[in-house]
């Protein structure tokens, strides 16, 4: 125990030191961080480590069991791939943000208490935001702010839930929580924001396509998978998750069909794949949890691979990423094309590729639990995956109409990064026993049976036939430059509406106040205070003068003198005193 460190520390400290390293050593140094981290990780025995007293609680920075270890392994692997892919970047900001982000994800996964869990959870947001802003476009800036606001709201929800929960139970241990009561519901929803549940999801499809080419690789791996881990840890077997997961698999595929930006297609696809994991966690049997976790591992790899291939396309084609602008790139980017097809085959669950051995576990668990509707929603979603990720992504970028673009092949380091991810996609699919041996529970599932292979192959080939049929008959929706409104409409347009409502109501009050108080009321009060002493005074004096026999010219003269004295505030002391007395008497009577 003396010679191992918390996994998060290596990445966070290592990342913060990146700016100090100059020149050619920087690349080697950055690639060394996940390697050193991995060697450190495999030397950490299972159990509870790094317990630090904090007030009357214990903070635990190393809750190491099979669930957290598997996420630890895959986070190290994907960090290495993502760093390699980004190694050409000269600016330190993205390197530091990426490494701190990866470190925070490891912090979340190995946190044994809710306090440190929450701190790392928030660091995920703070570090990742720079991977979006670093694109330095107006769209990225806007998407980044919205990303930050949504995650801040989700974080507050989680914090409120944790505070209530700790208050109720008296323990800050992070383990099984279960959905029972208001506090746990807040925690549940806090996880749901990061997990991109329906209606809580638009931050993902808004921000990921706007992030930098290399930043998206980090983003696709960590935030949602940390949420999957948290759900698997705290809410396994929660029935609501079955339905949430099933809806997540189904609704994004409709959006993916009509989306033009290929990285946004992949973002919808990411929600769809996380749906399978959430559904598996909801089912909660050992096979379902195994399926969810192994699918998380495979999804990190093939989604990163797909994002990397699309990133390479952007990198070589002046940031073009819309279907309408691309096409026919296989001619000059054959290796990127092959890697993209491997990613597409993996996500489509083609036999021998990774999706085949993990997604089917979740579906089998649903079928074993006699959840017929869920099973067929997942099957429908599997066909949908083929449409957008399996066919649309490679077809519109590398085949389809010839855009006339003849870019160079992706740079070597990007090809290597894609090659590593592609290798593991095929390795996990062809030799699943290695992945299965790392899963939280013992695996009895056998993916390669003849009916399963034949059924899945039929599914894939006839979906492809449908694609050809729709394309040749001209019924496929034309790709067009457009925005498709999603649930973010509520806060993007809602934000504008709020602004307008506030503008009309608050500025309206201001205008009315200006007119009434400044324009009218003040003048009237002035006039009243000028006029009333005159009226009062003369009202008393004229009868008095009449009684004392003043008439005609004399009376007029007196009235004029009194009036001008009052208007110039030069009334004789006697009159002022009389006025004050009358005023006091009046007040006395009125009171």
């Amino acid at each position: 125990m003396t010679n191992v460190l918390p996994p998060a520390a290596i990445f966070i400290i290592g990342g913060l030191l990146v700016p100090l390293i100059k020149g050619k050593w920087k690349s080697a140094y950055m690639l060394l961080i996940p390697v050193v981290g991995f060697i450190n990780l495999i030397n950490i025995p299972e159990g509870t480590h790094w317990v630090v007293g904090f007030m009357e609680y214990d903070l635990i920075f190393g809750k190491v069991d099979r669930l957290s270890l598997l996420f630890g392994y895959i986070f190290h692997l994907i960090s290495f791939v993502a760093i390699l892919y980004a190694i050409h970047l000269k600016h330190n900001l993205q390197h530091v943000a990426g490494l701190v982000y990866a470190g925070s994800a490891l912090g979340v996964v190995f946190a044994g208490d809710l306090f440190s869990f929450f701190v790392f959870w928030e660091m995920l947001t703070v570090a990742s935001i720079f991977l979006i802003w670093a694109r330095r476009t107006k769209a990225a800036q806007g998407a980044g702010y919205r990303y930050l606001l949504v995650h801040a709201a989700g974080g507050l929800c989680l914090l409120a839930g944790i505070a209530l929960y700790v208050n109720q139970t008296g323990s800050i241990e992070f383990g099984y929580i279960g959905l029972n009561g208001f506090a746990t519901l807040l925690i549940f929803l806090g996880f749901g924001v990061n997990c991109a549940w329906p209606f809580l999801h638009p931050w993902l499809t808004d921000a990921y396509p706007e992030a930098t080419i290399t930043g998206t690789i980090f983003l696709s791996a960590f935030t949602t998978k940390c949420a999957v881990y948290a759900l698997a840890r705290a809410f396994p077997g929660t029935e609501a998750l079955i339905w949430i997961g099933a809806i997540m698999t189904a609704f994004p595929i409709f959006y993916a069909v009509i989306e033009n930006n290929l990285r946004r297609v992949l973002s919808y696809s990411l929600i769809n794949q996380v749906g399978f994991m959430v559904c598996g966690i909801g089912i909660g049997t050992q096979m379902a949890i195994n399926g969810a976790v192994s699918h998380a591992v495979n999804d990190i790899l093939f989604k990163a691979l797909l994002f990397m291939s699309m990133g390479a396309v952007m990198y070589r084609n002046d940031n073009k990423i819309n279907c309408t602008a691309l096409g026919g790139l296989y001619r000059t980017m054959p290796l990127t094309c092959i890697f993209c097809i491997i990613g597409a085959a993996s996500i489509s669950a083609v036999p021998l590729f990774s999706g085949f051995v993990s997604k089917s576990m979740v579906m089998d668990a649903a079928a074993t639990g006699h959840m017929q509707i869920i099973y067929f929603i997942l099957l429908f979603a599997s066909v949908g995956v083929l449409e957008h990720a399996g066919i649309k992504i490679p077809f519109f970028a590398f085949f389809g109409h010839d855009s006339g673009l003849r870019p160079k092949e992706a740079p070597l380091h990007m090809l290597l990064a894609m090659g590593i991810a592609a290798f593991f996609c095929i390795f996990n699919g062809s030799f699943p026993s290695y992945l299965y041996s790392l899963l939280p529970y013992p695996v009895e599932y056998v993916p390669y049976t003849i009916p399963h292979v034949v059924g899945q192959t039929q599914l894939i080939f006839f979906a492809a036939l449908a694609f050809i049929f729709l394309t040749l008959s001209g019924m496929s929706p034309a790709e067009m430059r457009a925005v498709n409104v999603d649930a973010d409409w509520f806060y993007r347009k809602g934000g504008g509406l709020f602004y307008r409502v506030m503008d009309i109501s608050m500025n309206g009050i201001n205008r009315i106040a200006d007119r009434v108080i400044v324009g009218e009321l003040t003048g009237s009060i002035c006039r009243i205070f000028q006029r009333w002493p005159e009226v009062l005074c003369l009202g008393v004096m004229i009868p008095l003068w009449s009684v004392t026999g003043t008439r005609g010219k004399d009376l007029h003269g007196k009235i004029e003198r009194t009036r001008s004295a009052l208007q110039t505030h030069t009334s004789p002391i006697g009159i002022s005193a009389a006025m004050a007395t009358i005023f006091l008497v009046l007040i006395y009577l009125l009171m």
């Binding site: 009916p451 034949v454 039929q458 599914l459 006839f462």
Partner: protein, 86 residues
């Protein structure tokens, strides 16, 4: 000179012969998969999965339904100009 060469260059699928081979092998695999079904013992989760050629029909119908509903129902509802949010 080199530039001209690269423009004239025929790539893999620019040759009609290659496309023909690809199309034929695809359609032959479809037939093979349709026939193969009758030689395997299915163990289905639900009764409907035992219908002959269930996965073939399901995939085709689901795919077409998905694309057409996205095109004719979702797109008219959600499509806006590119500067909608600006």
């Amino acid at each position: 000179m080199k530039q001209e060469n690269s423009e004239d260059k025929k790539y893999l699928f620019d040759k009609p012969g290659n496309m023909k081979i690809l199309a034929w092998s695809f359609f032959l695999s479809l037939v093979f998969l349709l026939v193969l079904e009758f030689f395997i013992h299915k163990h289905s989760h639900f009764p409907s999965e035992e219908w002959p050629e269930f996965y073939c029909v399901f995939a085709f119908v689901a795919f077409v339904a998905l694309v057409l509903s996205a095109k004719y129902i979702l797109r008219p509802l959600v499509k806006r100009r590119e500067d909608y949010y600006d």
